[in-house]
Subunit: 207 residues, 2 copies
């Protein structure tokens, strides 16, 4: 059944929700592949198979569309990670390495590529900047909470907050290093090494 | 004495060198402030106070101009760091922290901001992409060599290469985090914590 056929069988509210989801996916996909300059509202509408009017009904401005798209995918990724915490090794070095791998994966996929384009565009576009700063605060805080929960550490113990933050910053750096070339071999070695260091650093903590 | 007056007193070769240096500085400055889209050849020529023809005499294409500019500033920064290695504390935690601070500073200034714009633009512009990949390979290798030399470690000892690379990736992540807002307070705490962890991890190494 095609998307259009499916759409006709759904009640209005569900169709509206489906259109919104298609627009968000299309926006992230365009941003990751074409960058900010190439990702016009018209290009996203065409990719999602909706009219420009329908797009603007859901997202009045280009900034609304792209910040909503990045926030949506970020929330999905983190919910996915949270839902899988039970599947991780219970504790010790194996858990730490599984968590670091998972975090690094969040920062080296298509979503991060899209977020990076939005982030860098925001540096020189004022209406976008304010929106992205607010978005990054929310996403950054949630990433921190997910990392703390996954590692199973007490973030109020001395140094733990900074150690977790450093791990997220390293993951962002690895995401950047993966933008132009496939950096996965180097990354695998760094993730293994950093996991061992991190595990030892966190084990030292009292509490 | 103005730049123009100075230029007239210099022999042709020196004038040409001075023009080239002005163009490189203007290119990095434009890129950091205006991003890739805003940094046209015309904007850079105007900022440097030279004609478009003079610019094109030095740098036939836009790609030539910006990759040369980033490479030039990167080389300058690393030479600056190498020249100051003697001023660092001799060894131990104080040296490690001084080196980490120095590395992080390289990735959180105007130069890195400019490089980031070029890097992200290269992801969606094919003629630029190949040039930036080659450039980043050269700059990345030199950053690694400078970090190894500064830390005074044996990079052939097990895990050292990856530990140094993780530090550079974290520094890049901190650079990214500093793009839209002043991240210096958070960064100071992370640098202190990372330095302590890094120092312990490197001290463990045999040799």
């Amino acid at each position: 059944m095609s998307g259009a056929e499916l759409a006709h069988r759904l009640p209005q509210q569900d169709r509206s929700r489906a259109t919104r989801a298609r627009l968000l996916d299309a926006a992230v996909d365009c941003l990751a592949r074409l960058g900010w300059t190439g990702s016009t509202v018209a290009v996203v509408a065409e990719r999602a198979g909706v009219t420009r009017g329908a797009l603007q009904h859901h997202f009045p401005t280009r900034e609304d569309l792209f910040t909503a798209a990045i926030e949506h995918v970020a929330a999905e990724r983190m919910a996915f990670v949270r839902a899988r915490l039970d599947e991780l090794p219970e504790h010790g070095p194996a858990r730490t390495e599984a968590v670091v791998s998972m975090i690094v994966r969040m920062y080296t996929d298509q979503y991060f590529r899209a977020a990076l384009h939005l982030w860098v565009a925001a540096a020189t576009e004022e209406p976008l900047r304010e929106r992205v700063v607010a978005l990054e605060n929310r996403v950054g805080r949630e990433a921190h909470r997910v990392a703390v929960a996954s590692l199973g550490v007490d973030e109020y113990a001395a140094g733990v907050r900074e150690t977790v933050q450093a791990t997220l910053d390293m993951a962002r750096g690895l995401g950047l290093a993966n933008l132009l070339t496939d950096d996965s071999d180097r990354r695998t070695r760094i993730v293994a090494r950093w996991s061992a260091i991190l595990d030892a650093a966190l084990a030292e903590q009292p509490g």
